[in-house]
Amino acid sequence: MAIIERPAAVPATVDAVAAPEVVTPTQALGAFRRPVSSTGWKSWLFTVDHKKLGIMYGAVSLFFFLVGGIEALLIRLQLAAPDNTVLSADQYNQMFTMHATTMVFLFVMPMAAAFANYFLPLQIGARDVAFPRINALGFWLFLFGGLFLNSSWLLGGAADGGWFMYSPNSSALFSPSHGIDFWVLGLQITGIASLIGALNLIVTVLNMRAPGMKLMQMPVFTWMVLVVQFLLLFAMPVITVALFLLSFQRNFGATFFDVNQGADPLLWQHLFWIFGHPEVYIIILPSFGIISEVLPTFARKPLFGYKFVVFSGAAIGFVGWGVWAHHMFASGLGPVSVAVFSVATMLIAIPTGVKIVNWTLTLWGGKLWFTTAMLFAIGVIVLFTIGGVSGVTHAVAPSDTQQTDTYHIVAHFHYVIVGGAVMGLFAGFYFWWPKMFGKMLNERLGKWNFWLMFFGVNLTFGPMHILGLQGQPRRMVVWPEKLTGDGFFDMHFWNQIASVGSFVIGLGVLIFVINIFWTWKKAPIAPLDPWDARTLEWITASPPKEHNFDRIPTVHALDEFFHRKYEEVDTADGPRLVKVKSAEEILAEEESHADAHIHLPSPSYWPIVLAAALPIIAYGVIYNLMLSVVGTAVLLLAVFGWCLEPSVADDSDYDPPAGGDSTKELATLG
């Protein structure tokens, strides 16, 4: 049951002169009220609470993870035997395009957004994000954009040009179905979500930190999320341009990629990869942040070289802008460009290597506690390093020319994305589940989950190194029997191993889903501080109250929570850390000094309405522009509703008005 404070009048004790100018919550033009439910389905539909939005982001991303996973399994089924016929060539093209698109845009990015939404305000000691309604809008745009994108399966086939959607394959001549139109417009919609999310989170981090918290006292996860938001802020507009050009060509006859008119096919490649390479770091950095929280907690010592981890993360983000053309070494850029991008790409290995060293040295000499979260984090170090090493081989242009468009590349980016990003997100699930839901995920199932995924990743993507160097091309629907080699180079054997491995990963994910349900139904209530954690999000109830903190904590140090629990005491053997307070005591102290005035933003009808207008416009672009006109009308209505709704819910909309001290009044709502 949530509490929302009634809009209180300024108490009589306050001098009228001292009272600020704006006191009464406006009725705007009196047209619309704000919803007030804090329970039931309405409280989710109209919520602006960053925690509820975080959970919804997570649930929807998980759903799309399963969708993308099924697509992956179908691909591996098709490739399990030579000249296989599980999928037709056309279906296969759609499958690998949508697998990549779904995993990148509808799973890894929004799942990172889920963690960022939920934990970023908690980690910096804020009550919510800077723009709660925009936050809600971002979620609904992501959901509707994702559904719109996937509705293409039912409406004549999905996009089939690969997630990079190179021209001229993306033109109506080579892809006559509406699939690519759905892809373009769907990504525009989710792109808006990313952009406004980035604005929101940057402002939140820069402006709303708890008193005392300096930038260099922020948890590493917050730091990495901040870097990612800057990458999104500058990368999204570039893909937006590319997508506009493509949709103008496909829907309105523009000539941007029409080679007959003298168009340059490299234009798309440059625009796409100027977005696409920062995107790679957008995918991986949140996981780096998560494991930088998990490793110190379970090694029971501070992160080794906090500043180096932070600055190398920022360096990765920065240098990441200068390496995009390494995706285009085979396109004939000329030796100078290739050399420059090759060297720049190798430079990326330096900050990344710094992080690997820091994580390893965090473990060194620690009292390691091998929880599932810790296993996943160590898994990230191992698998990401393997993927990073094969990545350096692609940076060397002559070597890359041999490897490009083969399974060697597929092996590389799956090691870094599944082994790095996805395993990192799983570390986050196990680490933060007790904070989000007050219950711990089952550790026994968790270990199964980890080991199945860990072995599955190596079984699936390990053999692809060999297949790739043998020359098996990417994106081919079949591999012919007559080309399989012998012994160690037996394509037949390694393809089957990879297919078996993919189902092992699938089993691991299935166990995770089972674990969620088991935890939901059966798990006991988790202790307040199950991991002896270090950062601000643990100085609050589990799950946190709607207003996050009873009293906004004042920060004195990096790892504030840890420093409140432990103090250094001199003993005969030198200084020792001694636990002086339990989490329960710290929380009780905070509660006893609760703030008198907690002001939370009221829920709003408009984010979901505004978001719903965009798919309508997009369907209109594809089928009938009249529909776009209708969508635009809904959009305008929503914008005006948004702007004109009152700043808080009306007094009389709340449940029984209570008498007494009007300044401390809390109304409980049904």
Binding site: P7, A8, V10, P11, V14, A18, A19, P20, V22, V23, P25, T26, L29, A130, P132, R133, I134, L195, A198, L199, I202, V203, L206, N207, M208, R209, A210, P211, L233, F234, M236, P237, V238, V241, A242, L245, F248, F252, G253, A254, T255, F256, Q261, A263, D264, L267, L271, I552, A596, H597, I598, H599, P601, S602, W642, L644, P646, S647, V648, T663
Partner: protein
């Protein structure tokens, strides 16, 4: 502007209680949330126009069918409309200035004039597009045509949205419905407006003045 309201409820109560010392309006950077996000948004917009301008620069010489830039641009006409747009930045500054002096009447006046000048510019663009079309440069005619209309069209849409924002500010100011720092609301629209003007300076130079 959307969340000014939420912000100000906090503002109204910060003069008492334990929450006082770290009220949200005392932001860590000193910039308000709205202003910071507007700056960030404009940073993002730079790359949007960067992409569009690059596309145009790549394609401006490619016009096998239809006229090229040298044949159709009417530099005197576009210079006049550019001048009008630049003057609108001046009137915008005057509006922000009046808003800071809490002079609502003059703020509204200058905002309206800014919007009118903007509308004049958009009108010039519509006229220009129409005459180019009659001279044989359609959206689908050539790479030059597609990229020219896309770049200047995107800019025109930005100006149009700016005009709408100006008019809305005038409207809600007259009804006294701005729930917060009026001067800041005007300043935010001003930031956007100046940005759109600066982008036009770049477009005018690269597209019209430098011969292809």
């Amino acid at each position: 502007m959307a969340d000014i309201a939420v912000h100000d409820v906090d503002h109204a109560h910060t003069d008492h209680g334990a929450y006082e010392d770290h009220a949200p309006h005392a932001t860590s950077t000193g910039l308000s949330n709205n202003k910071l996000s507007m700056w960030l948004f404009l940073g993002s917009e730079c790359l949007l126009f960067g992409g569009l301008i690059s596309t145009y620069m790549l394609y401006r010489g490619r016009h096998e069918a239809g006229p090229g830039p040298d044949q159709i641009f009417d530099i005197p006409l576009t210079s006049v409309s550019s001048f009008i747009l630049l003057m609108s930045s001046l009137t915008m500054v005057l509006a922000v200035n009046s808003a800071k002096r809490k002079d609502d009447r003059n703020t509204s006046l200058w905002l309206t004039i800014t919007a009118l000048l903007g509308a004049l510019f958009v009108g010039g663009q519509v006229y220009e597009f129409t005459s180019f079309y009659h001279e044989g440069l359609g959206f689908t005619t050539s790479l030059f045509g597609s990229s020219f209309y896309t770049l200047t069209g995107f800019h025109g849409v930005h100006v149009t949205l700016g005009i709408i924002m100006l008019m809305v500010v005038v409207f809600i100011m007259q009804r006294d419905r701005i729930t917060g720092d009026k001067a800041e609301v005007v300043e935010l629209v001003g930031l956007y407006w100046h940005f759109v003007d600066v982008v036009w300076v770049i477009i005018f130079t690269l597209v019209y003045l430098i011969p292809s």
